[in-house]
């Protein structure tokens, strides 16, 4: 038994280890040594929710690079560079391109490229991109998908880097004569905001120059070329500014009239400016200049000012908690603790040392506490039940599995609660790791954004999944013990309770889902793949129970059928989301077919092996 467990563990940790770290040489740009804590806590509205800048930084960096850190910079430091020093940020390799050859980039270690690299490459592929954008996403080829993803990343980066462009020093040479003529500041860099006051005059002069001399800039004097450049820059900035909506850090003047936060550029383009926004833009500009000069004192003052200006408009407790949630990585810790608890079980199984078992129980308790605490925090931040996305459902089901295992461990004299709870939760949290890229603590799609049904139907179904997982693992244990000709009579009542409880939750959850569907979509049942999957689980359990009661299914076949619940739950939970059809297609995912296939194949193999072994022993 120990040998098998050790082999399994080895396989588990082999697949769970991160891919071999690909060393990326940091560029030579200096990273300003400024305090990032206050910046991280400043509010921004994104994806329909107020969140701290820390979350935006993490999400943006993860989206572009697939990493949490880049070149020894934290996500916050990277975002600060993008916002305040875009000229530096465009030279930092941050764009991850999975298949660089497809867009004409040379393959480099890490497959990280700079903004300049990807835009130059994408410039050559505008025709292919245009064709791809006219197709539906399900008809994209692999190359087109790569093009679209790269283009989306470019847009995100451009939006972020232009967020404060009108406050930053313009990198344009302006002759002194022009400075004097326009009465611009001479003691500091000129910003677009300085030029805005003279826009009429600049445009008028540029128009006169072009009318008089044409568009051939070689005939212009230095001063004339400067005016035309300025006019052109203003128009380009204005065009980019009108599209700039990503960094919504400007609170509304009258929240009761319109609670929407807007981007800084909307002050110039949409009339959202006010005396309050002036104070904010002034402080942001001070922050930007302090960043560029690496002036930590100036930076701290600017951050303090921004903190005070935002204080009346935001709930700082929520922002602070979210930063803590981002940093504490509770699910990783829970997974480690579950793994250690499982190891303790293995140690106890081999050595029969009670203290090792106690340690395992305690580790399971701590892991579960962290896990449930993190889910609770998530609920507080999102103000809804914790099962709105696939990732959240994995976290929730894992927590329920750990809880059931713990309760079983407390109530029973045998030790399978620890085994079941720790192993089940570990596997589910491990599976959840594959979906963290999609976890942006986002708001829900409209059909899910009804708390009553989210709390009833979805919770019920996911609790049902948790019971099915527990039932399946217990059935595996019983088949294994049967294979070794050990008695399982003490487990039969337990597995019956588990089975019936699974059936209860899955059936009630399915019916509640029908009621919700009737209210949302106008029909109780539409043979949607998700609905079919839930029904399949209920029918499978019912068939097994009735078959066993009627004597049509022998004990080992019954246990094998229960063990197969793992496969059914996986197919229902993840498999149907691959289809992208039906009204449940808001949950569409791609790229998990391979892993799902491997899981189903391995599970089938294990079940057949255990069943055959048990049958042979029985005969």
């Amino acid at each position: 038994m120990i040998r098998l467990l050790l082999i399994f563990l080895g396989a588990l940790f082999l697949f769970s280890a991160p891919a071999a770290a690909e060393v990326i040489k940091p560029p030579t740009q200096n990273i300003p040594s400024l305090d990032t804590d206050v910046f991280a806590g400043l509010p921004v509205l994104q994806e329909g929710r107020m969140k701290p800048m820390d979350s935006l930084a993490r999400i943006a960096l993860k989206t572009l690079s697939g990493r949490g850190k880049i070149d020894d910079m934290s996500a916050r430091q990277w975002l600060m560079e993008v916002l305040f020093d875009p000229a530096g940020a465009i030279t930092r390799p941050v764009f991850f391109v999975e298949y660089p050859e497809q867009i004409g980039l040379p393959r480099v270690r890490g497959r990280l490229y700079t903004y300049q690299d990807v835009t130059m490459a994408m410039d050559q592929r505008q025709d292919s991109l245009a064709i791809a954008m006219q197709k539906e996403s399900k008809n994209w080829t692999g190359e087109e998908q790569n093009l679209i993803q790269t283009q989306e990343k470019i847009l995100i980066f451009e939006q972020l880097s232009h967020s404060f462009s009108f406050l930053l020093p313009l990198r344009l040479p302006v002759p002194q004569t022009v400075l004097k003529k326009l009465d611009l500041p001479k003691d500091r860099p000129i910003t677009l905001l300085d030029l805005k006051r003279h826009q009429e005059e600049i445009d008028a002069r540029a128009k006169r120059i072009i009318d008089r001399k044409g568009e051939d800039t070689s005939t212009y004097t230095t001063e004339e070329a400067a005016f035309v450049d300025l006019a052109f820059s203003l128009s380009v900035f204005k065009m980019k500014g009108e599209e700039n909506k990503i960094l919504r850090v400007i609170p509304p003047m009258d929240a009761q009239k319109d609670p929407s936060w807007v981007s800084p550029w909307s002050i110039l383009t949409a009339g959202t400016g006010s005396p309050q926004t002036r104070a904010l833009t002034h402080a942001w500009q001070k922050a930007a200049f302090a960043y560029l000069e690496n002036d930590s004192a100036g930076w701290d003052v600017a951050m303090k000012t921004l903190h005070d200006l935002y204080a009346p408009s935001v709930d700082s407790t929520r922002l602070t908690l979210e930063i803590g949630y981002n940093h504490s990585q509770p699910y990783d810790w829970a997974m480690i603790l579950y793994g250690l608890a499982f190891l303790c079980f293995c140690g106890w199984a081999g050595l029969r040392n009670q203290k090792i078992y106690m340690a395992g129980s305690l580790l399971l308790v701590i892991g579960m506490t962290l896990h449930i605490g993190a889910i609770g925090m998530r609920m507080f931040l999102l103000e809804r039940p914790p099962v709105g996305t696939l990732y959240e459902s994995l976290l929730f089901v894992a927590a329920i599995v750990a809880l059931i295992g713990l309760i079983w461990d407390f109530k029973a004299t045998h030790r399978y609660g620890l085994f079941t709870g720790s192993l089940g939760a570990l596997i589910l949290l491990f599976a959840a790791q594959g979906f963290t890229d999609h976890d942006t603590l986002k708001m829900l799609v409209a059909v899910l954004n009804t708390n009553f049904w989210l709390a009833t139907h979805v919770l019920c179904i996911t609790i049902g999944y948790a019971w099915c997982v527990i039932t399946a693992i217990t059935a595996h244990i019983m088949l294994f013990k049967s294979m070794r000709k050990e008695s399982i009579s003490h487990l039969i009542p337990t597995v019956q309770v588990f089975t019936i409880t699974s059936l209860l939750f899955v059936s009630v959850g399915t019916i509640l889902g029908g009621i919700w569907a009737d209210q949302s979509w106008g029909r109780f049942w539409g043979w949607d793949p998700k609905e079919n999957g839930a029904l399949l689980i209920a029918l499978w359990i019912a068939w097994l129970l009735h078959g066993r009661m009627a004597g049509l299914v022998d004990k080992n076949a019954y246990l094998a059928g229960l063990a197969a619940l793992n496969i059914l739950v996986a197919l229902t939970w993840f498999g149907v989301n691959l289809l992208n059809v039906g009204l449940h297609s808001y949950g569409f995912i791609s790229g998990v077919a391979g892993s799902l296939g491997v899981f189903c194949a391995v599970q089938t193999g294990i079940i057949l092996f255990l069943w055959r072994g048990a049958q042979q022993r029985a005969s």
């Binding site: 006010s274 003052v301 908690l321 803590g324």
Partner: protein
Amino acid sequence: MKISLLLLGFCLIVIAAYTIYSEQHFFKPNESAPILPEDTPKRIAGHYTAPNFSYETLDGKKGALNDFQGKVVLLNFWASWCAPCVIEFPQMIDLASKKPDQMVLLFISIDEDRTAIDRFLKTHGKDLPKANIHVIHDTRKAIAQTLYNTFKIPETYIIDRNGMIVEKIIGADIVWNDDAMMEKISTLYNAK
């Protein structure tokens, strides 16, 4: 089992304590003086004070926004080249004419050229001058852009008799001299 329950309780207490501690101690900025610009609006009961400014009207009279405490002020930013301003200009003059004791109207032009303003007023400001209407040329856009962050025009701030900004209206989508606005001005004037 008892030990496990005790440990569970201990873990919950630790997590709660960490949460409270981090909320109180983390991410607090240094205690340094903020760098707010002059006349940064103060927030009182959900509204902001209107930043004060000094001005000189087209006919050379000097004044300041705070001179009009006790009356409702309409602070309108406009320009001669602004098409919606053509619509709202006479409406606002009519409104101010009907409420001479209750309100003051400040027209702040961001035109760069004074002659454009004069040309505009010749056509659309025939009823001027009025005692409670002042036309101001904001040559450097110091009031419009620097103080009030106004970049799209027309924009109008409604300021109550205590100097608090009550509302900001962007564009010329409302009828300024209708009964609803008259009522609003009276209500603001009569409020304490």
